[in-house]
Symmetry: C2
């Protein structure tokens, strides 16, 4: 959908042309064993946005897995165009989970939030969401290709 | 493989019978669009473990996705039986990445580490791995099914 191209294009402009982002998303999301899935919110033609779009929101997500608990859903992006934001964020997340999570028997919904985003963190906490970084001490670690080459040298045997 | 059943069974005993874990892993990992993938380390029959296993290690992983960067690999579990731990952890992670990450064009390898696990955290940092919880402030948040029902009520419109 064109809307997705544009939304992702905004992010993509930091690294490459919009066209390239579009090709990547097609390749990665619409192949056999896709790397992500996407739900779009579509409205009737007569209610289209100022710019003429009928796809006015999306949720981009993928599945993660715990050998302790089984299938989880990870919500990477949840976006609705400002002019179509009629329902609250919690309802949007719940609608998303009910559309995908239940049918795929996912026992958890996970997401990440930035430390400084206290309104969202407070909201998630008030709803019973567990901040695993605070309660259990989990940290995200990321390596990119170059750093991976360093891993093999002088590492402890554990 | 039987080894996997046993390894996962140890974790699974907290919640259900080993047989149930085995059925879940078969269902979720060996279906169309699997929820996880697994690499196993196999040795020749004549070198089998004391208990008679030839599969002596595994890496359990899945793919995540960033609309900024594209495909990532997430390493959930990396296990080698103590009696077969000949190479260091860094080499094991690099071998894993080279077996899977490069062929799938993943631009990142990600994993999680607990706050108190300072030897691992120091090691990852020394190798150039970025602790995103420290450097950017990312927190993990988890909802389970019951809490998801609460989300819809009295949530801010953002």
């Amino acid at each position: 959908p064109d809307f997705l191209t544009i939304s992702f294009g905004v992010k993509g402009e930091f690294r490459q042309s919009q066209q390239h982002v579009y090709i990547e998303l097609q390749r990665d999301g619409f192949c056999q064993n896709p790397f992500f899935e996407c739900l779009v919110a579509e409205i009737p033609e007569e209610l289209k946005s100022k710019e003429g779009f009928t796809v006015v929101g999306y949720a981009l997500y993928f599945y993660t897995y715990s050998t302790w608990k089984g299938r989880s859903l990870y919500l990477e992006d949840l976006y609705v165009m400002p002019e179509f934001r009629g329902i609250n964020i919690g309802s949007r997340i719940r609608l998303f989970y009910e559309s995908v999570g239940r049918s795929k028997q996912c026992v958890r919904l996970q997401l990440s939030v930035l430390n400084w985003n206290t309104p969202s963190r407070d909201f998630y906490a008030a709803k019973g969401g567990q901040d695993l970084t605070v309660s259990e001490g989990w940290h995200f670690v990321r390596f990119d290709g170059q750093n991976l080459d360093n891993l093999a040298n002088d590492a402890p045997k554990i």
